[in-house]
């Protein structure tokens, strides 16, 4: 943490702080939050305060972002590694497939996947995936192409270095070079990619939940905003929407700053 740029430190502190806050306020002491909320009750849900709903939603959005971001990063890493190991024409075929998935708009595809997943769940064929699991699976299925492209390009750059050529000359196979020589150099980049997926996953989930297509229970920040925005029409209704928005912005700000600083780090070092 001491050698980390101030922006990255700020991002990490913000992200961890929000995580701890949502855990403490949203999960561990919800009664305290309900009794001390200065923003009052939600007009559309008179039994819940705005603070309870906003911090409860923060916890859900953060959890979705973390799990979906991690899954997308892992799938992207696996696809990139396989593409590099295959090499030649097969790598090009894989890359064209990656490009095709990358060209599709996230929100559109997640909506279709949610429709399919919910229909399967309703018919008892959901494989035990609840709304949370379904959302995470949809986001991971859509979000792996970006990380795959980034990892593939980074691997291609790293493979051009002398120590990799030396390892190959000494008889190291593709999988060995990847595991022993490339992975240690790729690890910080993987963390940066994961952090960059986190806000994307949270925003996509928020938008799809806002449309009313995802049935996230307990409510995420997006679903809360989607079900409460009618309050804006009434005087003072902004107190319902603004806290959830502010939490969403802070969450994405933390993840973006941490990710940008981490991806810039190795370049500066070089």
């Amino acid at each position: 943490m001491s050698g980390m740029p101030p922006r990255a430190r700020f991002g990490f502190v913000l992200l961890v702080g929000l995580g701890v806050l949502s855990l403490v306020a949203g999960r561990l002491f919800p009664d305290w939050l309900a009794n001390t909320c200065p923003l009052g009750v939600d007009p559309t849900r008179p039994d819940r305060t705005v603070c309870e709903l906003a911090f409860g939603g923060l916890w859900v959005s953060l959890a979705v972002g973390l799990v979906a971001g991690a899954l997308s990063t892992l799938i992207g890493l696996a696809v990139a590694a396989v593409a590099r190991l295959l090499g030649g024409a097969l790598e090009q075929v894989v890359l064209r497939g990656v490009d095709a998935v990358f060209a599709l708009p996230d929100v559109l595809v997640v909506m279709v996947l949610q429709l399919a997943g919910q229909s399967l769940s309703d018919a008892g064929l959901g494989g035990g995936l609840g709304p949370f699991g379904l959302m995470v699976a949809s986001l991971a299925l859509v979000g792996w192409a970006g990380p795959a492209r980034m990892f593939r390009n980074r691997l291609a750059t790293l493979e051009g270095q002398e120590f990799v050529a030396a390892a190959r000359a000494l008889g190291g196979g593709g999988a060995h070079v990847l595991r022993v020589h490339l992975w240690p150099a790729l690890r910080p980049f993987a963390l940066a990619v994961f952090l960059s997926r986190l806000p994307t996953a949270i925003l996509t989930e928020s938008t799809v939940s806002f449309f009313g297509i995802a049935r996230m229970e307990p409510m995420s920040l997006g679903r809360y905003l989607g079900t409460s925005y009618a309050a804006l029409i009434y005087e003072g209704g902004s107190r319902v929407v603004l806290p959830a928005w502010a939490l969403l912005v802070l969450l994405v700000l933390g993840a973006s700053l941490a990710s940008q600083a981490l991806s810039a780090g190795p370049r500066k070092a070089a």
Partner: protein, 294 residues
């Protein structure tokens, strides 16, 4: 031009892939009536869905496309629309996107210049904070904030408001890229030479720097155009615009399977066209791209 055609061929592959994937995804939905759940459809509706998708018929997967070209309604209920209506709605969304694009470019240029200016002073942190706030704000939030004004004062055009809120994120994204390119260009020798010869900073920027920054802008316009079109979905939904985004969301919510298949494929085709357009503009505007590919 050969490279442009090669890219077009690659992009065109996306359309059948999307068509096949979306068709089979919809065809595998268990639209049964076995459960008593409220979300299950009635036997008549389930049979109607199967007819729409041509399930069980020879070459049934062509059924949505046959309906589209014959001008028949694609869906089963009142929301089912014809191909002409679909194209009209799509043109509405494209219109909003076309209004949003110049707005986004204006945001981009303004933010890039402001960021370059801020970098030298005490406002430097704003250069990082503004993109973070813009990226952390989904389109539906600014749409929600302007919605009461649009509802209360009818003279504010909902389309213009939709374009405005849709343009913020792509504009700041482009602005960040242009700002980086601007910073690189401003540190080059030719800028110092031009300034040393007595040209004003504004003239150096206009005549020398901005033409060199344009290719960086063009690189990002393709993905941004996609974001503008997809982003307009949320704005249309909040502001009640009856265009493609609204249609798509309602089709998904109402399980209008044939509409979802055709609308998804139509949207993918539009993305290919946008991508081709950007590629052609880049080929015409940027001589370096032509030289690199020759």
């Amino acid at each position: 031009m050969r490279t442009v055609l090669q890219r077009l061929a690659r992009q065109l592959m996306l359309v059948p892939v999307v068509a096949v994937a979306s068709y089979f995804l919809m065809a595998m939905l268990p639209l049964t009536t076995e459960s008593e759940s409220k979300r299950q459809v009635s036997p008549e509706l389930a049979a109607s869905y199967r007819r729409d998708l041509g399930i069980g018929e020879p070459l049934g997967f062509l059924r949505p496309w046959e309906k589209l070209f014959r001008g028949e309604r694609l869906g089963t209920s009142a929301q089912g629309i014809t191909g002409d209506e679909l194209l009209r709605k799509l043109s509405g969304s494209v219109g909003v996107g076309m209004m949003a694009l110049p707005l986004a470019l204006a945001w981009a240029l303004g933010f890039a210049l402001a960021r370059t200016h801020w970098r030298k002073g005490r406002w430097a942190a704003l250069g990082d904070a503004v993109p973070a706030i813009a990226f952390g704000t989904p389109v539906f939030i600014p749409a929600l904030l302007v919605a009461p004004a649009v509802v209360e004062r009818g003279h504010l055009l909902p389309e213009l408001c939709a374009a405005l809120v849709t343009s913020i994120w792509p504009g700041i994204f482009l602005g960040t890229l242009v700002g980086d390119a601007l910073e690189t260009e401003l540190s080059r020798d030719y800028v110092r030479t031009a300034l040393g010869k007595g040209l004003s900073p504004g003239a150096v920027l206009r005549r020398h720097v901005l033409p060199n920054v344009l290719p960086a802008l063009l690189d990002a316009v393709g993905p941004v155009a996609t974001a503008l079109l997809a982003g307009s979905f949320a704005a249309e939904r909040v502001l009640g615009l009856p265009y493609f985004g609204q249609l798509y969301v309602l089709a998904v919510l109402n399980k209008q399977v044939a509409v979802v298949v055709v609308a998804t494929t139509t949207f993918a085709s539009l993305l290919v066209l946008v991508s081709l357009g950007v590629e052609v503009v880049r080929h015409v505007v940027d001589p370096r791209s032509r030289e690199a590919r020759a």
